[in-house]
């Protein structure tokens, strides 16, 4: 459930003057249920790697590792979900999130290192805020330009999602 679902629902309300609200919303629900019955087409993994217990498409915002991300996915920008695009440099420090991997039902600590030195890629923008904290708690704050910590200064290009460990506490 992302803000767009909310938006559809909200717009449904606004549009309720054209039909009855209840029927529009109910209609969407039915259509959504229908849509969900069609499985998504399989998307081949970046560089062809299919990882059995790491399910999902790293070029999609839905990929489990992106649960706390806010930025452009490097996998759409010439990099991968763990590596920067050619010509950029990875910022060494960043914010971390804790994401549940549906492949093994474990929580992993994910480091969202930014890639820096070229301007904003602008492709596959992805905002998910699980566990996101205000910027005075920077280690969990995705609203900070973490390129500030790297040698390419603050020119932000895209963000990665790197496993740095398993979270036993979660």
């Amino acid at each position: 459930m992302t803000w767009f679902d909310t938006f559809i629902e909200k717009t449904a309300r606004t549009t309720a003057r054209l039909s009855s609200r209840r029927s529009v919303v109910a209609g969407i629900g039915t259509l959504l249920a229908g849509a969900a019955a069609f499985p998504l087409l399989p998307v081949s993994r970046v560089r062809g790697e299919e990882v059995a217990n790491d399910p999902g498409d790293p070029e999609s915002c839905d990929y489990w590792r992106y649960c706390a991300i806010d930025g452009y996915l490097c996998s759409c920008c010439g990099g991968t979900h763990t590596a920067c695009p050619p010509g950029t440099i990875m910022s060494p420090i960043t914010w971390v999130g804790t994401c549940l991997n549906p492949g093994d039902n474990k929580h992993y600590i994910i480091s969202y290192n930014d890639c820096c030195g070229k301007s904003g890629c602008g492709r596959c923008g992805c905002v998910r805020n699980e566990g996101d904290k205000p910027m005075y708690l920077p280690q969990a704050a995705n609203n900070i330009n973490w390129c500030a910590g790297g040698s390419a200064d603050i020119i932000y290009n895209c963000s990665t999602a790197i496993i740095i460990g398993v979270d036993d506490d979660a």
Binding site: F7, T11, G34, G122, M135
Partner: protein, 416 residues
């Protein structure tokens, strides 16, 4: 309007002198029945005094951050009046109370997005929108998505404080009266800056406390104190989006409690805290929303909260409603449904105030949105979002008008 005396109506004909091999344009004097020739070289003049109220919207313009900009809007006509170019990844402007200047801490690179970095504090003239002065500051200005709490003017309007993040945290201090950088203070763990007191600033710290500094005009520290932890940053942190009324700052926590802090040269004290979102409403997943969640009308004491329904991790999602509270009774007195999904709100400070919202407009009829959503998912819809300023009557929430197409990610609204 004023006319540049150096530009003549016939100046366009210069083209034939400069560019050989092209035929000159034939013109003739306008006859009585013809439309008259227009004067050449005119620039619309601006005077703050010609407008009852105005509003600035600041845009970090992601992913084109070198084009950070601020847009000046007349909310009563919906007219776009002027704009400022604010450099790479702007975090907003400050508006001195004299109405004659606009202050902006900016980062520029010698090669636009590479090369040598220069951070400068720029003062723009509020009539001509041209640079009046520029002060070099340490190249450490924080670039963050949420603009509130990244800079502050002192109450006497003489000092400007800027949040730095390299990722070491510090504060840059500029004396605006003599246009000079005067100090950089390390403020580890305490990045966000709020004013309150003649020449005092209050820094929000990661342990839930505030650090208060008072400076003299040379940037020397004349007072320093640290409050106790006034909220629990791990259980329920406050958002950095605060609003001010006199010596009181109001913040809201991610779960929806308001915190009323008294801030002055002596430090920061918690005056009161109470829920804006009740237990029942939290069970229904009502949540704070967007970037700038709160607005405050000072004379009436009405507090505006941007809300929507969604699980806790959606606290940054756009809002669908604004709830209005009376600060004295702590009662919710109004609940407005907004015309558009909204990421920031503010209110004008006059007696018949306007409510401003930055709306995410999707230029597509509803049935088309549903079609796209079902066939391609939400991504192509989010890609079409265009942000604009929506203007409502703050008294009854009625939608008045919108100013569309204000860049790629406008997020801060400042009544002027």
């Amino acid at each position: 309007m004023r006319t540049f005396p150096t530009l003549l109506s016939a100046a366009v004909l210069l083209v034939s002198a400069l560019l050989t091999g092209v035929s000159a344009v034939s013109t003739k004097t306008a006859q009585a029945a013809d439309l008259p020739e227009d004067p050449m070289g005119e620039v619309v003049s601006f005077s703050r005094q010609d407008h009852d109220r105005l509003v600035w919207v600041t845009d970090m313009n992601m992913p084109y951050q070198a084009h950070g900009r601020a847009y000046l809007i007349d909310p009563d006509t919906g007219r776009f009046l002027s704009m400022l170019d604010l450099g790479y990844w702007t975090t907003g402007i400050e508006l001195p109370s004299d109405g004659k200047r606009i202050i902006s801490a900016e980062t520029h690179f010698s090669r636009t997005t590479r090369g040598e970095r220069s951070d400068v504090l720029v003062t723009y003239d509020a009539t001509t929108f041209q640079v009046r002065s520029e002060v070099t500051i340490p190249p450490k200005r924080a670039s963050v998505v949420k603009m509130q709490g990244t800079s502050s003017l002192s109450d006497d309007q003489s000092l400007f404080a800027q949040m730095n993040f390299t990722p070491a945290v510090s504060l840059t201090l500029v004396n605006l009266e003599r246009d000079g950088f005067i100090a950089e203070i390390d403020t580890p763990g305490c990045p966000n800056i709020y004013g309150g007191g003649e020449r005092s600033f209050h820094l929000l710290c990661g342990d839930g406390s505030f650090l208060t500094y008072t400076f003299d005009e040379n940037g020397a520290v004349t007072g320093k104190s640290r409050s106790a932890a006034l909220f629990d940053p791990f259980e329920d942190p406050i958002s950095i989006s605060g609003v001010r009324r006199g010596d009181h700052w109001y913040f809201v926590s991610l779960a929806g409690d308001v915190y009323d802090f008294e801030m002055d040269a002596d430090g920061v004290r918690l005056a009161a805290t109470w829920p804006l979102i009740t237990e029942d409403e939290r069970e229904d997943e009502w949540s704070i929303s967007g970037f700038q969640h709160l607005a405050l009308h000072a004379t009436s004491g009405q507090l505006y909260l941007l809300t929507h329904q969604g699980p806790p991790e959606t606290f940054e999602d756009p809002g669908t409603h604004v709830w209005v509270f009376d600060l004295k009774t702590r009662e919710k007195i109004e609940a407005y449904e907004l015309q558009e999904l909204t990421i920031s709100i503010a209110v004008s400070q006059d007696d018949a105030p306007l409510l401003y919202g930055i709306g995410a407009h999707i230029p597509m009829p509803f049935f088309a949105q549903v079609w796209v959503y079902l066939t391609e998912g939400e991504a192509p819809l989010i890609d079409t979002v265009q942000f604009g300023l929506d203007i409502y009557d703050a008294g009854d929430g009625s939608y008045q008008r919108s100013v569309p197409k204000l860049g790629n990610l406008p997020s801060m609204i400042q009544p002027w």
